[in-house]
């Protein structure tokens, strides 16, 4: 049988590669957004610390901005430094 394809539609899926399922701050899945965003993806990215812990960028930045003295990782209390791969 010969089939002629008249049209097709490509579908792709994506996911973040993180060492955990959920953000330790908001407890939402990394595949969804932080509580203050509506659409997952590049506008609500994940970020890693040098300590290897990973959070929604908006969650960790909100936490760091609230800390006046020592800016620490919420998980391991090491000084927080962004890990730009």
């Amino acid at each position: 049988m010969k089939v002629t394809i008249k049209s097709w539609m490509g579908v792709a899926s994506w996911r973040w590669i993180a060492n955990d399922e959920n953000c330790g701050i908001c407890r939402m899945s990394f595949e969804s957004t932080c509580p203050e965003c509506a659409l997952p993806g590049d506008n609500c990215p994940l970020v890693w610390g040098v300590c290897t812990h990973c959070f929604h960028m908006h969650c960790i930045v909100k936490w760091l901005n609230l800390q006046t003295m020592n800016k620490q990782c919420p998980m391991c209390r090491q000084a927080w430094k962004f890990n730009f791969h």
Binding site: S7, E36, C37
Partner: protein, 194 residues
Amino acid sequence: MSKIVKLFKNNKKDKPPKAEIITEQKEPEPIPTTKCGKPLVLDNTRWEKRLQKELMSLIKEPPPGVSVDEDSVTRNLSQWKINITGFEGTLYEGENFQLLFKFNHKYPFDSPEVTFIGNNIPVHPHVYSNGHICLSILTEDWSPALSVQSVCLSIASMLSSCREKKRPPDNTLYVNTCNKNPKKTKWWYHDDSV
């Protein structure tokens, strides 16, 4: 997203292909956003989801000796009462205590206010007779990675490691002069052993 919607609208003039009709969806209600796409208004009800999750998991899989008084949970989840039982083999074995958790709109970025309430306030060197608890994770060592469950476990372990039932040395003075809210107290943490 806006691009996709635009393309779709342009296509509408033509005969839309079937696949597109299936994927047609209601446009989400517009949320006021800043230039970088973050919502303009801090919507704290969205952060309540985390409290909801915590409540559900505490009800479904409570750690040993811990149980939520489900009737006490206020509708907006801002107050819960939690029962904890002294562990076997400790000075508090078989005793029942009740903790009151109060959450403000900054949770989990701000710690919950946690006090012992009811008739049985544990006699412990870090627990004042008005129910206030001297525990660093409840103030300056709070982290948003902590949770109601981890606070309960810290308090249970604080009770378990106690060797002598006694009130803090400054109990009378503190109880007579402190603020109602223990978070307003400038705690001085000096003893990590209990």
